[in-house]
């Protein structure tokens, strides 16, 4: 039985942001508890330990919770979205099941209204976050190469980059001929011994958990340090709702289901939500009360609205020369050539590219079977040998502008195993996103052809591409147009904070984890600086 003694700070979710905020707040010596619906992962159980490593991507380590259906998962009704929601529910959250591609948002991403007249500016800027990017890089362990001309100079130097490999050389030479930017990515993967973690040995299967421990998931970065500093992490604890003292309008705790499915009340003086851009609005919308009949912190009506995914396009090519296949981390090079706005392109804002080395033997067979490239019958073997380890990929990550009709609501029927209403997604691709995707596909095709591709495949948008869950409790100065203020506190409830990707005002066009964690550290720092006046 959990004690459920009152705590000073209660954090909901132990993923990218929850772990960072727990670690940062630990030095206050406050009593801090994190509730996590999943459990610890055992690296010896990760797929790359077994011969079925590729198959498990479609089963217990599938990226879609609807496919995976583990006890720790909740269902998501994403039928009305061309992009499906991906996540993982465990200590470490979706950092267990991510590629560890680790760019920061650009300075321009925080000021899109001022620069391009679209969406809204963030109430903070890149330079305010810069010290927290650096602190997060130090805690995470980042490899890459200093001096990328796509970014302002950075104060920290990463570990040496992941290997360029054959694929990187082929694409790098092509990008040079085209005069386009490319650079070793910042990757949350160690390339040497780092804080007790072993260096990458090119298992090639980073996404479904790193058996080597080289990939930075927060269960092996922030959490050991936070727990040593006194934070309690309680697993298999699924929060149903945040409760309110109707007299004061302040949060006073949460109701959750423990590992035996028994309803519990956990009192708290401060509540921090870190449940991602789908889980957070779901929780707030499920936290209705007399005082907050439309859901908690929702006086603006914007909780759940402005969902941004980053529409992805995937363009892949086949080459005569052998590529890396799955024999290394899939992502270790990027291009930001088309990142900043250029009105001549027919859309606003831009996108980044991540270069993919190739895919595994089974994935190649399955995808080529589905696309019709791989014949049945006697020709099968000869054709397969031209495809296997002869592929490279460029994935475009497009900035997704906030639109209120793209939203998370509560499904009227679907519920999780504890009977908690599940999230429902309504999302459409904007005309701007469509144009951006088309531009990215045309340019990526050009790059792959330049590198020697003899056949090109395209997926637009990537259906199972809803990795980045952003914008559904946006940050802003105006309480009528945002959910949290410029330091993560909700406008409506003075002891309720949100620290995950749902507070992104705009999405940028890069993988968001680095920025999510820097934001979480920034908010924790703001809380620490304001402890005496936290509820004013």
């Amino acid at each position: 039985m959990p004690s459920n003694e009152p705590v000073d700070v209660l954090i909901i979710g132990s993923g990218a942001s929850g772990a960072a905020v727990a670690w940062s707040l630990a030095d206050t010596k406050m009593k801090i508890l994190c509730l996590e619906q999943g459990d610890w992962q055992n690296p010896t159980d990760y797929p790359s330990n077994g011969r079925d490593w590729e198959a498990r991507q479609f089963n217990d380590m599938a990226t879609s919770p609807n496919r995976r259906q583990l006890w720790s998962d909740y269902p998501v009704n994403d039928d009305n979205s061309p992009i499906k929601v991906l996540n993982f529910n465990a200590v470490g959250g979706s950092t267990i099941l991510y590629a560890a591609h680790y760019p920061r948002l650009h300075p321009s991403d925080f000021k899109v209204k001022s620069l391009d007249g679209v969406a809204d500016d963030w109430p903070i800027d890149y330079h305010q976050l810069e010290p927290f990017f650096a602190e997060n890089d130090r805690m995470t362990g980042v490899s890459g190469m200093a001096g990328d001309p796509a970014y302002p100079p950075q104060k920290t130097s990463p570990m040496e980059p992941l290997p360029m490999g054959r694929s990187g050389r082929m694409l790098g030479e092509a990008m040079n001929r085209l005069g386009w930017h490319w650079w070793p990515s910042d990757c949350a993967v160690t390339t040497r011994e780092y804080e007790g973690r072993a260096p990458c040995i090119n298992l090639g299967h980073c996404i479904a958990g790193c058996a080597q421990g080289a990939k930075a998931s927060t269960d092996i970065t922030y959490w050991p340090a936070a727990i040593r500093a006194g934070v309690e992490l309680r697993t298999r604890a699924r929060v149903r709702e945040i409760t309110i003292d109707n007299a004061t309008g302040m949060a006073n705790g949460v109701i959750y289901y423990d590992r035996d499915g028994v309803e519990q009340f956990q009192p708290a003086h401060v509540v921090v939500v870190a449940a991602n851009g789908i889980g957070t609005p779901r929780l707030l919308l499920n936290s209705k009360s007399e005082r907050f009949p439309n859901g908690l912190a929702n006086s603006s009506g914007l909780v759940g609205k402005n969902l941004m995914f980053h529409p992805y396009a995937s363009v892949w090519g086949y080459f005569n020369e052998e590529t890396d296949g799955n024999r290394g981390p899939p992502l270790s090079l990027w291009s930001h050539e088309f990142y900043e706005s250029d009105p001549s392109r027919g859309f606003v804002r831009g996108y980044s590219w991540q270069f993919g080395r190739g895919v595994g033997a089974i994935m190649e067979a399955q995808q080529s079977f589905a696309s019709g490239r791989l014949p049945w019958g006697a020709e099968h073997h000869a054709v397969y040998r031209k495809l296997h380890n002869h592929r490279m990929n460029i994935a475009a990550i497009c900035e997704d502008l906030p639109e209120e009709h793209n939203r998370v609501t509560l499904d009227p029927v679907l519920k999780d195993a504890n009977g908690i209403p599940a999230p429902k997604i309504d999302y459409t691709l904007s005309e701007n996103s469509n144009r951006m995707l088309d531009h990215a596909i045309a340019r990526a095709t050009e790059a792959l052809r330049e590198a020697g591709a003899w056949d090109i495949g395209v997926e637009k948008p990537i259906r199972n591409g809803g990795w980045h869950l952003l914008g559904t409790a946006r940050m802003g100065s105006d309480p009528t147009r945002s959910v949290v203020n410029d330091w993560g506190r909700t406008h409506d409830v003075k002891n309720l904070f949100i620290v995950d990707g749902s507070i992104f005002t705009t999405s940028g066009g890069v993988n968001p984890t680095s920025t999510i964690q820097a934001l979480a550290l920034y908010i924790a720092d703001q809380m620490k600086q304001r402890l005496a006046t936290l509820f004013d």
Partner: protein
């Protein structure tokens, strides 16, 4: 007192009937035949078939539906058709496509391409990625010199 049957997983019955196994093996023989040239078995090989039969997992219901559809197209037992007629049914099946066939194909291919004999034929070591990993050329980062020379491309705010 009879023992209550264990509930089926949410994704369907993981067991194939004998008739389904016959259909599956015949389909696999048409899909990926053995090759002396590449020194590989066909997907109807007994070891591969045994792997397929225990690997339905979250695709179990889709596999049952796909095999039932195969029998409908065959007008009876697909395995009992002569090869020419089987080829015709396969062409129809593939032309119709659909998620059930994709799921069935996915399982056949995952079992085929993790078979030791097939992996060796492809020049792969039949082993899991961990703990040995792989070796990649580090590359010559002087290849970035033109990018450095071009200079800053980020936008000032």
């Amino acid at each position: 007192m009879s023992k209550a049957a264990a509930p089926l997983p949410a994704w369907g019955d993981p067991i194939l009937s004998d008739a389904e196994k016959r259909s599956l093996a015949a389909l696999c023989a048409r899909m990926i035949p053995a090759s002396a040239e590449f020194n590989v078995p066909g997907a109807d090989d007994a070891l591969i078939q045994a792997d397929v039969a225990k690997s339905l997992d979250r695709d179990a219901a889709a596999v049952h539906r796909a095999l039932a559809h195969l029998e409908r197209l065959a007008g009876g037992s697909f395995a009992d058709l002569d090869i020419e007629k089987q080829e015709g049914v396969c062409a129809t099946l593939r032309a119709e496509g659909g998620p059930d066939l994709t799921a069935l194909g996915r399982i056949i291919l995952q079992c085929y391409y993790r078979d030791d004999r097939v992996m060796i034929s492809l020049g792969m070591e039949p082993r899991p990625p961990f703990p040995k990993g792989h070796t990649l050329p580090q590359g010559d980062w002087a290849l970035l010199d033109p990018v450095r020379k071009r200079g800053k491309i980020w936008r000032e705010v």
